[in-house]
Symmetry: C4
Subunit: 236 residues, 4 copies
């Protein structure tokens, strides 16, 4: 029955449980409506990842409904949930895992304020220290790309490779975020909406004041290395 | 006692339960305040629909309080709930069911952002892919019409017949949405508020970038035929 | 012990329970923060009203903590809750009850959007049908008045006497609403925030389209006489 | 085991419980996302304060996880929670306690609207009576300062010493608030976001109307001395 050996099966079970729970954070943080949005997580030690099924209620997202895929985005037949279709964004997640080996989690939402910046193809300028902490500068815009081939995944990878930001605003579409694991990518999804909202509102009230680049650098460096109870290594 | 035969009675009971539950989605998605808003659903196989009573608390919306009407909007006497007045928008719902045979559900709200566009008699431009997916282009505006005759129902039907959108912004009033069943119409009500909000906010920040028409067409086609666990056929 | 006779004591107990519960609606509808806002209700058949204590947590608003006052705003000594100070807006509520005999409930909040219009001393124009239904036209602005004498109460009474609206935006302060009973005044507080928000957002997106006066009149007339399960008579 | 004597240990236990609970108010009032924000409270009768650990989930904030520090911001070793790192803003809190002996609580958040004013380095003008009540005039802006030395604490103290406001908007960063105890500082954090939001929205709709200075003074005086069930003395 099991095809991956006991150690990998344990890892798969853990990622299934994490991914199911983390979708709850999208709801709690009001990043999604209806069945929109998706979280995926790489299975440590295997060329596999776990992702949400397509168009399913958030109330039905139990671990056994999550779908196991290989890095080409193909569903692993005979595993729990494999009778369902995976998220329609599965190809984009798979592309990221194939091309960014340090990425352990990917999140996509249409969260309101981040998507509003995306509808203008405009990067979010770095004018608050929380943004310097979390993203190390502006949150960049990715190309316009539609579902159906690798263009979304390629747009994410080309924009974020070598960039401090773990978030990209795909033009006319919405944010994709990456992280060292799924929880870290969810955090980035929460934070990109938070800074998108704050900077949007700040600018509707008048001219923004820039943060000096040296301060941005210093804040990013400290936050990545000192904040929290354990080091939260930057994805390079 | 029963006037419709056992098969129709089962169908009525199912629609009553659905309609009662679906009003909860209006609350959860913050589309309504106080007793505003209403959902109705056609009874499959009969010239009947079920709708919410007028001006009743959302906490009191049990299945037996829902009201059964014929397609002229007349309450079916002697059925549960028939001692109450149906929603004051019942005539508009009835008009839609009479003139759009493929419509199985109708929703009306005064959700904030959709109503804000309606107060300007302005269609929502299609600048985000979620909107192309769901509505296939702009969300149109319907005529100004007040309660008291068929003018609201006629405005909805004239605007949406032959249109990809399942949502219409009735001028100075608010959104009405249709769907293949009540749940599909509720989804459209949730999504029209979501895109109304995102596009409003996007435009307050600067010029919007349009999506090429060919991409809008391709997104709409894919979403209607591929997304989700079962085909979500476009109306008509 | 009881000073008002059994019939009035029953009425007092009912109003205490209503007022305690209705404060929950202010919280559920996000009209208040911390200990702000207050609801009062006239005791039918007596020159008395019940109001919230000053600066007390919303979680502590049990019926026995509500405070019974005469129409001069004086606490009735020896009754439950009379060891506490009543709301600092008690004098304004009392003034309204003294001068508007048909008013059975008064509500005051600093709800965000209504207060934003008040900070500009600007009436809310009637551009959505829900507003014509509920308020019969624009929501008016009252004078700037500060706590310490009868000027707030007088401003409310002078603005709302003979006016269709049950809500007034006191300049630089916030909304006060009246109703045939406390629940009706709470509904007006919910609705004035809802229309304040929708019309604010509508106008930030471009020019508003007016509703013809004849349609406003017709909507107001219908809503006051037809909507709901029982007639919701206009004040006076 | 205990190093402070029974009376101080009781005081520490009470402050631990308060601080753990008060973090819940930050969540309930939507002032924080993810693990952001922090509350601290001075231990009465000792040169100690209690603060939140760094980067820990709001769901994990039990009293025994709170961290006890001296007024230099050093963790008191061997006490509960001392195996964790305290909030990365601990040095700023400590600086305030050292230099403002009447301050019993400090709160820091990145609440949306207050941070939006901070991103423009703009004080919030006093145009609503709730703001005159609570802050006695405009909410001031503090200098741009980054974490790593005493510059944040010094900016808070220099801005708020001798000022009526218990809130300061640190430039490009967010609000810090002080109070006679932790609960009072949390109230100030709730109220500064509320007035930041209301005044922001008011101004996007058109010109604001100022409150006469004499009225501001009179409102502030009354609120500090009369409102509520017990005097809420102004700091210093």
């Amino acid at each position: 029955m099991s095809t991956f050996g006991p150690q990998i099966e344990v890892a798969i079970a853990r990622v299934r449980a994490d991914i199911a729970l983390l979708h709850g954070e999208l709801v709690r943080n009001a990043l999604v409506v209806w069945t929109g949005g998706n979280v995926s997580g790489r299975v440590p030690g295997a060329d596999l990842f776990v992702i949400k099924p397509s168009g399913v209620d958030y109330a039905d997202l139990a671990p056994e409904n999550m779908i196991l895929c290989d890095l080409d985005g193909q569903v692993i037949l005979g595993t729990p949930g494999s009778d369902r279709s995976p998220s329609s964004d599965t190809a984009a997640h798979a592309y990221v895992y194939r091309h960014m080996p340090d990425v352990g989690g990917v999140v996509h939402t249409h969260s309101t304020y981040a998507t509003a910046w995306a509808a203008r193809s405009e990067a979010i300028p770095c004018v608050i220290t929380a943004m310097a902490d979390e993203f190390g500068g502006p949150v960049p815009v990715g190309p316009f790309a539609i579902i159906g081939d690798d263009s979304i995944g390629r747009g994410i990878v080309e924009t974020l490779t070598g960039h401090r930001s773990r978030a990209v605003l795909m033009a006319n579409h919405g944010p994709f975020t990456i992280g060292k694991d799924a929880r870290d990518a969810v955090k980035a999804a929460v934070m990109v909406e938070d800074v998108a909202r704050t900077v949007h509102l700040a600018r509707t009230g008048g001219p923004l004041v820039a943060i000096p680049q040296s301060a941005v650098d210093s804040l990013f460096d400290r936050y990545q290395n000192v904040y929290g109870q354990a080091p939260q290594g930057e994805l390079q």
